[in-house]
């Protein structure tokens, strides 16, 4: 068995993630072999997730679109350097996060919100109840909550924002976040704890 595959298996513990990683690696092998069109499969598979990560870090949809495209192009250019030491999505996340963090550091002073519409689906029922409780129109309340949430997120440091985004919104494990951010799992746990405490303080009005 290839050594890189063994190493990947030690990192990706979930069977579903392992299967996903194997599938991705097969596609990557095809791209490395010259099948450039195969990369489109990876783009379609991960574009929304990568977009979500970048969007939650920047809170600006125009910047997010550019940064997501840049991340995919960088991944495409560096695809020959991917040897399966980690899962492809972790590697892609790492590129996207680093690209975004670099952008945020360059434009630290220039930040304004450009938020996406909240797509109605499951998980937003509590908004109706909170709006009823406060006697406010639901849409108005939802918009206010969205803005306050993004404001609170932007008050976090870049590292804490990244960790809370990857953990709570994208559902990555501590180990995967540690791999993406090049830090220890303990550091990730500590940052998640701090970020949650901070957000609870900022959004206490909306919690009950």
């Amino acid at each position: 068995m290839n050594l890189s595959r063994v190493f990947t298996r030690t990192i990706v513990t979930s069977p579903e993630r392992q299967q996903e990683a194997d599938t991705d690696f097969a596609i990557v092998k095809r791209v490395q072999g010259g099948d450039v069109a195969a990369f489109d499969q990876l783009i379609r598979k991960y574009r929304e997730r990568v977009f979500g990560v970048v969007y939650n870090l920047t809170a600006n949809r125009e910047d997010t679109a550019d940064l997501t495209q840049d991340a995919f192009i960088k991944a495409f250019q560096a695809i020959n350097r991917f040897h399966g030491q980690s899962s492809f999505f972790t590697w892609l996340y790492k590129i996207a996060v680093n690209t975004t963090l670099s952008h945020l550091r360059k434009n630290r002073l220039r930040s304004f919100f450009s938020l996406e519409q909240i797509q109605e689906d499951s998980g937003t029922q509590f908004v109706d109840e909170l709006a009823d409780k406060n006697g406010i129109n639901r849409d108005v309340y939802l918009r206010e909550l969205q803005e306050k949430l993004n404001e609170a997120m932007q008050k976090l440091s870049i590292k804490h924002r990244t960790v809370i985004t990857l953990f709570e919104i994208d559902g990555l494990s501590h180990a995967e976040i540690a791999q993406v951010m090049d830090c220890s799992e303990g550091t990730v746990r500590s940052r998640v704890h701090y970020a949650k405490q901070f957000l609870q303080g900022e959004l206490a009005k909306y919690l009950r």
């Binding site: 783009i43 574009r47 929304e48 939650n56 495209q69 519409q117 949430l149 009950r208």
Partner: protein, 264 residues
């Protein structure tokens, strides 16, 4: 109005999950894909600078040749330096600590009869005194082959050498006694003597011989007190120096500012 008590608790995780719902509409992805394709083509056609290809070059399997070349180069340099070191004669400690200890032991083992007014010479010792200054510059070039031999002296070294030379010229016996014959580096007088003479200068004197030497200097010509010095002082000094107990207590005698200096 709904009953608030039956509502589930809203946590920070619920609020954060709300952000998952912030998604662009479906038509956004069509535009996104076309833009990405254009950028991808531009990136493919763009000529990248040469230095951006270095990481790719390094990630290729060139580690083995580079490592092998480095190992061979290191081995060649090591062998060359080692052979050069082997050809040169082994370094001999010129004035070794062991030799000093041996000399001291021989002196202590000298017969008690030597406590007379005669100078007792130490047993024959290898003439190593002058070789320190003679050999070291040559050896230095061998020890540090990459550096040019230093010919210049520091100001302090020049000053010390001048002082010693002046003392040897003006007070040869005193210099010999004071330095025990072991500091004849700067003086040229000892270098031109034969080894036997050098051994003699390196001899160790007993307290009795020191006393006799000092008294001889005082009586003859070496000590020239100030003209206005009272005669009583001179006599008292001679008498004091003649005392055995006093002679055993000082270790070095010298002339300083026209007077006698004793070091205890």
């Amino acid at each position: 109005m709904p009953n608030l008590d039956h509502r589930s608790k809203v946590t920070i995780e619920d609020l954060l999950h709300l952000k998952r719902a912030e998604r662009p509409p479906a038509e956004f992805w069509n535009r996104f894909e076309s833009e990405l394709r254009q950028k991808q083509l531009a990136a493919l056609l763009q000529r990248r600078p040469w230095w951006q290809g270095l990481p790719n070059l390094l990630t290729r399997r060139v580690y083995l040749p580079i490592g092998a070349t480095a190992m061979v180069a290191f081995t060649l340099v090591s062998v060359k330096y080692y052979s050069a070191t082997q050809q040169a004669p082994a370094f001999e400690p010129i004035v070794s600590h062991a030799a000093h200890l041996q000399t001291a032991a021989r002196v202590q083992a000298a017969p008690a009869a030597a406590r007379s007014d005669e100078v007792v010479h130490a047993p024959t010792v290898e003439p190593t005194v002058a070789t320190l200054s003679d050999r070291l510059p040559d050896r230095a070039s061998e020890l540090t082959p990459w550096s040019a031999p230093r010919t210049e002296q520091t100001p302090s070294a020049k000053s010390i050498a001048a002082s010693i030379a002046q003392l040897e010229v003006s007070e040869p016996d005193l210099a010999n006694v004071a330095y025990g014959g072991t500091f004849a580096v700067a003086g040229s007088r000892f270098r031109h003597q034969d080894p036997a003479a050098m051994v003699e200068t390196a001899s160790v004197t007993t307290s009795a011989s020191r006393r006799s030497r000092m008294l001889a200097q005082l009586d003859d010509r070496r000590f020239a007190p100030e003209p206005q010095a009272p005669e009583l002082v001179r006599e008292r000094l001679v008498r004091r120096l003649a005392e055995t107990d006093f002679n055993d207590s000082y270790s070095r005698v010298g002339l300083e500012r026209g007077g006698v200096s004793l070091k205890f």
